[in-house]
Symmetry: C2
Subunit: 242 residues, 2 copies
Amino acid sequence: MQVINSLENNKVKLWNKLKQKKYRDQYGLFVIEEKHLINEAKDAGIIDTLIIRENCENCFDMPAVYVNDAVMKKISNNVSLNDYVAICHTLPKKEIKGNSFIILENVQDPGNVGTIIRTAYSLGYDAVLLTKDCASVYGYKTIQSTQGAMFHIPVITDSLENIIAAVKEQGCKVYATTLDSSHFLSETVKTDRYAIMMGNEGQGLSEKAVSLADENIKIEMANFESLNVAIAMGICAYYMKH
Amino acid sequence: MQVINSLENNKVKLWNKLKQKKYRDQYGLFVIEEKHLINEAKDAGIIDTLIIRENCENCFDMPAVYVNDAVMKKISNNVSLNDYVAICHTLPKKEIKGNSFIILENVQDPGNVGTIIRTAYSLGYDAVLLTKDCASVYGYKTIQSTQGAMFHIPVITDSLENIIAAVKEQGCKVYATTLDSSHFLSETVKTDRYAIMMGNEGQGLSEKAVSLADENIKIEMANFESLNVAIAMGICAYYMKH
């Protein structure tokens, strides 16, 4: 068994760079940690290199590269030492097709983006559509928060204009969630084809996004108007489906 | 202006200990960070000691103790250096009174507990009731996730049996959220007085909790049965109110 021991190894340097979005974009690669997520990546056929900490068992039925503890620490984001990581090819770009979508504009927190992807998949949405200023889908925290859902539901990044045009092409009505709409969620007439648009954690949706929507909706709140964006998305997404 | 400079100062040692639940319980004190949360704590009248980093302005209109950077780092949880922290008395224990409640059993993640407190307050629930094995209300991550809601909605920790008895005393129907119920949320008949019970992130509600409930409900899911507990709570809590 050959083991990569050097932090100066060129592959190790490349893998470590993948913590940064610009290198993930440049190389079309990202890092997956944790066994169940690696299995999902394997099923999706996107693993480029399986990396195993020396003396750990290869339980993935595919070839692997072995590394020592220092290298494993260097390339992973997890605070505890991983036994496995996988370098993966970014997911193939999909078309925007379907009848129910979640659109995120400038959602900054990777945990929120990941949780929203997980929720959208669980509730049966057809895709999650992100504007380019959202947190990266391929960052560590986003991936962990999706709990694997990112391998099952298309997650597509594009400009706001392209996203809105594409969902309207699918016959969808676009709902903007805002705080100042007089139109309450529970009064909203449900439709068969729709997209729900959520905005930035601090500022909400941009004026432009609101102006491109067909209807504004607001969640009824009894007290201070403060809901985490993933919670607000869950409430709206469930309401529209049922 | 007198400044505490020593990490060996007895007060500094005490404040640092408050990162651990057992000392928070022992002294009845906890730490609040960030200006807007300190203002909320001030309005609630629970500040024991206001602590300001030397050379920062006291904008709270109350007496303060000044500390150097090293002491400020020692006593705070924030990765970036705070200008202010406040040592606060734990909130006075309230009675369980009202007609809509959220009950959490063994919810472990402080971010989930905090987000649920924030959501419950925003949606107009009367209290959040925690079993004793839930993440601590007074931990750093819980407090940050509540966004101040913990100063407005009663959060009460007790045994499962006492909690259920108290909400039933208030005339509430108790709903258990489970994955194996055949009773879907959108088919649930709404009532005026109710408590919604959410369980542990991995295991869900205990058999005992389910057996004490009046009805089991399940969120309809199209795909893999995986929703974050705070998202599931948001969906159920909104549904029951509207």
